[in-house]
Symmetry: C2
Subunit: 318 residues, 2 copies
Amino acid sequence: MDNSRPALAIDIGGTKLAAAVADPGGRVVTRDRTPTPVGLDAEQLWRTLEALFTGVLEQAGIHDPAELAGVGCGCGGPMEWPAGVVSPLNMPGWRAFRLRARLARALPGLPVRVHNDAICVAAGEHWRGAGRGHANMLGMTVSTGVGGGLVLDGRLVNGSSGNAGHIGHIVVEPDGPLCGCGGHGCVEAIARGPALAAWAQEQGWRPGQLDATARELAGDAAQGHPVGLAALRRAGRALGIGIASATSLCDLEVVAVGGGLSQAGPLLFDPLEQALREHARLDFTRQVQVVPAALGQSAGLVGAAALILAADRYWSPD
Amino acid sequence: MDNSRPALAIDIGGTKLAAAVADPGGRVVTRDRTPTPVGLDAEQLWRTLEALFTGVLEQAGIHDPAELAGVGCGCGGPMEWPAGVVSPLNMPGWRAFRLRARLARALPGLPVRVHNDAICVAAGEHWRGAGRGHANMLGMTVSTGVGGGLVLDGRLVNGSSGNAGHIGHIVVEPDGPLCGCGGHGCVEAIARGPALAAWAQEQGWRPGQLDATARELAGDAAQGHPVGLAALRRAGRALGIGIASATSLCDLEVVAVGGGLSQAGPLLFDPLEQALREHARLDFTRQVQVVPAALGQSAGLVGAAALILAADRYWSPD
């Protein structure tokens, strides 16, 4: 592969669409984003995305696809992987949308690789962020959901359907709250932002705004609100137990935690650490380190670029 | 590599030492075993092992190490990996014993690879047993402990210290019984044979023999003893929840369960399946299949041979 060409990176989520040109070292050269349109049909959504990445390519002075090494794209799941046929939960306009094929048609002659957004975030954090230099990492996003991606023995793990890394559905309380997946007591059922806010309201917390958010709850916790603090302890404990289990199973060195809720800082990370250390007691599991993610909003784009620019570690199905 | 030579395979456990010559396809040509000596010092243990594998090589008509492709060895942990410096929990005579170096000195000029015994069992089941043809498998052993090994994206996963696969320390009941690791509510704390027998005795089960074993308990359960049945349900549930978590995290296709307790059959596997299906509710996790291990006592030897004979999939640190 010609290692001198940049990649087009695309990150498709329920709240925003983002595109960037990344240089071969994974640095973002140009980028742009737009809120994910609501209420549009499949073709209208596609045209919004196409306008976005066309603009980014123009901005980077790229007029011919042949100037690119390829196209990497992260997208909300579920999807058929590696076919790149996507049905993002939060984008009802796309159901079994042939995203990979459409990208390949728009930018002919290039490798086009689509993967789950949480996996791209983990790949980005591993390649250029908090997991750099560690061969065994779990990258987590704690936000509206709890997602993740695994890098083991120096390679991104896909699993049988491209869904490896779903730390959000590790069970931490078998008789606990119902999860969106239909199970009970998953990490996500307890630690996702909306679950946290709902739990706090049950405990008597009264948000200032109509749409009670975990962000507001974390803000109140920072001011010392006891229910806010208890909610973050509860989430931290669930995350810590889930991380302990993942560490035992995968012999991890580092867990990078990002996403909106991770902004709560020590109010979340302290109880997380406490639960983790209570449960990770084997010599090898004690070694694991939990660190904040380093790339913020860029992680998904950098990871999408990695599918092309560092394919030896981050892409295996071809 | 010359693909026509056999490997010497060695399996070192707390109850038995085994050695075999395996042909390049992983079939055992000759084998022998002996109970693990109790009360011997490090050198006496080594001489017992050396006599065992020397006999097996003679039996196979191998008089020169150059006739072998290499030596693969599974050994009880913990160990320094890949250095092969071992301190098997159940063999107090070996503490920081330089097993790999000793094997290399005894059989000069060959690659010598030592890995955790549970990982060798999983590798064996993947290469030649119940996991054959599946790129994503967890191999489990449910016995005195609960161990395992992971194959993901077609390769054996090592993790940062060669300890990946420790399904026994996934947490399934955070406030549950104390585990040997120091944590609480690990799969192993509930489902290991001795824990099961102890729990049953607390519930009023009276074993016929002084050393109440899970085997006897399973026998009583098969006769309809209600505490025996409850004990197997309890173990099955813990295993099922642990497998659900592992499936979510690793996107597994198949889980192969072996070890003494797996002989209990449907009395264990039915509650295991029930708990698994209650908790594995995502489209991709529903696909996972739990199957009995296929190789029995040979799995560890076959997996040890795989470290040499199928190193592209089962050995990466060199």
